[in-house]
């Protein structure tokens, strides 16, 4: 918002530039939210995501048993029943409870690794875009090409092996793998935006480079960042599953959906429900984030006018 009442027009223009386009950003978001609310499919996705978040937060109250300590070897590999909705695993633990707790790991990894990606991708992308054509740009772009020249799962696996398995490793490995896409996206956007007049105006009144990038340019690219973030969470959850499946994620006895499938593999002949339960859980979660992401993309696209 501008506060130009007490001062002249020149100051108003300068202050508008100095405060960035905060006001404009808010109206854009409000418009997007209005469009999103009308999109029934996206709202299904949003409700599902919120439900999953609720399950993760309230896990101790939702799960009927403890996912780790409530084991009973006499009651192992049972099919679904009234006592155990999704049956029991090879140690006689309640699968439903483990699925509920597994949501915590999946959602945390999805969110945290994307934050790492966001910081790396947006930071480096904005840097490369603003200094396009210089050695900084060159260095960042070559780095992103190197990351992209290898299959991302291998890089994540290699990093996990190098620094040892565990939940923090997953954050770092998946965050490191995803930044190149985000970086290119931001760079492209910054390239177009930095040629616009308001950036020139900001430079003319003496804003520092950092201020121009963070206060003036980055707010303009919120839309693609939000879409990429939502879609990226889905991708990160899938990747976490793969790492846990390979034994590189959170270590047992912590319940994760990927490691549950890994242990279920050997019992596939006698207890297929052990594979299907975590599989369907992942499917629903990834599906929900994709529905929401699709809706966000439509809602934030300035070309769709309502």
């Amino acid at each position: 918002m501008t506060s130009g009442k007490s001062s002249g027009n020149l100051v108003t223009a300068a202050e508008t530039a100095a405060t960035g386009n905060v006001y404009l950003g808010e109206t854009q978001l409000a418009m997007a939210w209005r469009r999103l609310r009308r999109d029934r499919v996206a709202m299904v996705g949003l409700v599902l995501v919120l439900l999953l978040a609720l399950v993760a937060v309230l896990a101790p109250w939702i799960a009927p048993y403890d996912p780790v300590t409530d084991y009973n070897l006499r009651n192992r590999l049972q099919p679904p029943s009234k006592e155990h909705w999704l049956g029991t695993d090879a140690s006689g633990r309640d699968v439903f409870s483990r699925i509920v707790y597994g949501a915590r790991i999946s959602l945390t990894v999805g969110l945290t690794s994307r934050v790492v990606t966001l910081i790396l991708g947006v930071g480096l992308g904005a840097l490369a875009g603003y200094f396009a054509g210089t050695w900084v740009d060159m260095l960042v772009m070559r780095l992103s090409e190197i990351v992209d020249a290898l299959p991302s799962l291998f890089v994540a696996i290699a990093i996990s092996v190098a620094i040892g398995p565990g939940i923090y490793t997953v954050f770092i490995a998946l965050g490191f793998v995803g930044w190149a896409d985000m970086c290119r996206l931001i760079r492209g956007q910054v390239l177009t935006i930095r040629e616009q007049q308001f950036v020139e105006a900001a430079r003319a009144i003496g804003c520092s480079t950092g201020r121009i990038v963070f206060r003036h340019i980055l707010p303009q690219v919120t839309a693609p960042i939000m879409v990429s973030l939502t879609m990226g969470i889905a991708g990160a959850i899938m990747a976490e599953t793969a790492l846990s499946f390979l034994g590189l994620g959170a270590q047992p006895p912590t319940p994760t959906w990927g490691s549950m499938m890994n242990y279920a593999r050997q019992y596939i002949y006698i207890a297929p429900h052990l594979v299907f339960a975590p599989g369907v859980a992942i499917l629903i979660t990834v599906y929900a984030f994709n529905l929401l992401g699709d809706g966000l993309r439509d809602a934030l696209d300035p070309r769709t006018k309502t």
Binding site: F154, A158, V161, M238, A242, L246, G279, I282, N290
Partner: protein, 308 residues
């Protein structure tokens, strides 16, 4: 044109250099001695020193790296720490498996994905569109691990129609399930992309002109629209081929196929450093190579594209 490709190829060199350096560094910051993880903790110091000298690990790191790159340029990727087999030969033996699986998967993806996307776009807003969109979204959201295990259970265990895993005599039956897993995943992605691209093309003026001329829907969709929609579709297919050829580690592992993906994965877990470095380098070369070839392909399918 040829000048463009020479420049493009020259740009590949620093990328490959970076990849090799990245893997080299990554595995030297690994805690623990690579030799000890191979010979075991109980080996005598003399044995360890002997092996270290034999493998060239006693030399300074830059020397080791230079030696390795020098040999790699001549096509010699060295030998495995674990079983002393030639890495180049192992890759030669395993790549055909990955190649067959990739082409099989890609065929499934093309046959299912593109028609589904085109069909959905033509019937936009109808139940056909809604159904196809949902199916393809579910396909995109299904983790390969889950799909692989589920197919193993349904067709291998329950119905008993196909082998659960392994390569057996190498017949197509052993490739079918893994190819379905990879193929349907790519098909789902292709369907979503094809639909979006077709919708954009069908909205353009020249399509309206074609309609106004009274051309049949068939000619409009397949002759006028699809041809223009092919560029992004082929780009994405090429990208998929690139990632398929470097091996689908998870699928190959679940179905116990001896391809490049499972080779790399096993080596990473065994900390078989030379194999990991060799396999990574090979994969990067294939991946980048496919992308360079694709750039050439655009010129063939889109006469508007010019590289100067």
């Amino acid at each position: 044109m040829s000048r463009y490709f020479i420049r493009r190829l020259l740009l590949v060199v620093p990328v490959l250099f970076g990849v090799s350096l990245f893997t080299f560094i990554l595995f030297f910051i690994v805690p623990g001695d690579p030799v000890l993880s191979v010979v075991g903790e109980r080996a005598s110091p003399e044995t360890v020193a002997l092996i270290r000298a034999e493998l060239g690990l006693d030399k300074p790191l830059p020397v080791q790296y230079a030696t390795w790159v020098g040999r790699a340029l001549k096509g010699d990727l060295g030998r495995s720490f674990l079983n002393r087999r030639s890495i180049t030969e192992s890759i030669q033996a395993r790549f055909p498996v990955t190649l067959r699986l990739s082409l099989f998967s890609l065929a499934i993806a093309i046959v299912l994905g593109i028609p589904a996307g085109v069909w959905a776009a033509v019937h936009k807003g109808t139940w056909i569109d809604a159904a196809l969109r949902n199916v393809s979204l579910i396909g995109v959201c299904t983790p390969v691990i889950f799909q692989g295990l589920a197919l193993q259970y349904i067709f291998g265990v329950w119905l008993g129609w196909l082998p659960v895993s392994g390569i057996g005599d190498g017949s197509w039956r052993h490739y079918l399930l893994p190819a379905i897993v990879l193929g349907t995943n790519i098909a789902a992605f292709q369907a979503r992309l094809s639909r979006a691209v077709m919708l954009e093309v069908l909205d353009q003026d020249y399509i309206r002109t074609a309609r106004a001329k009274g051309l049949s829907q068939r000619v409009i969709v397949y002759k006028h629209a699809l041809r223009n929609a092919m560029i992004p579709i082929v780009t994405a297919l090429g990208g998929s081929l690139g990632s398929l050829l470097v091996g689908s580690a998870l699928t190959e592992t679940i179905f116990a196929l001896p391809g490049i993906g499972s080779y790399t994965l096993d080596a990473v877990f065994a900390r078989d450093l030379p194999v990991v470095m060799g396999a990574f380098l090979f994969q990067a070369v294939v991946f980048v190579g496919v992308n360079v070839l694709l750039d050439g392909l655009y010129v063939l399918i889109d006469p508007r594209v010019r590289y100067d």
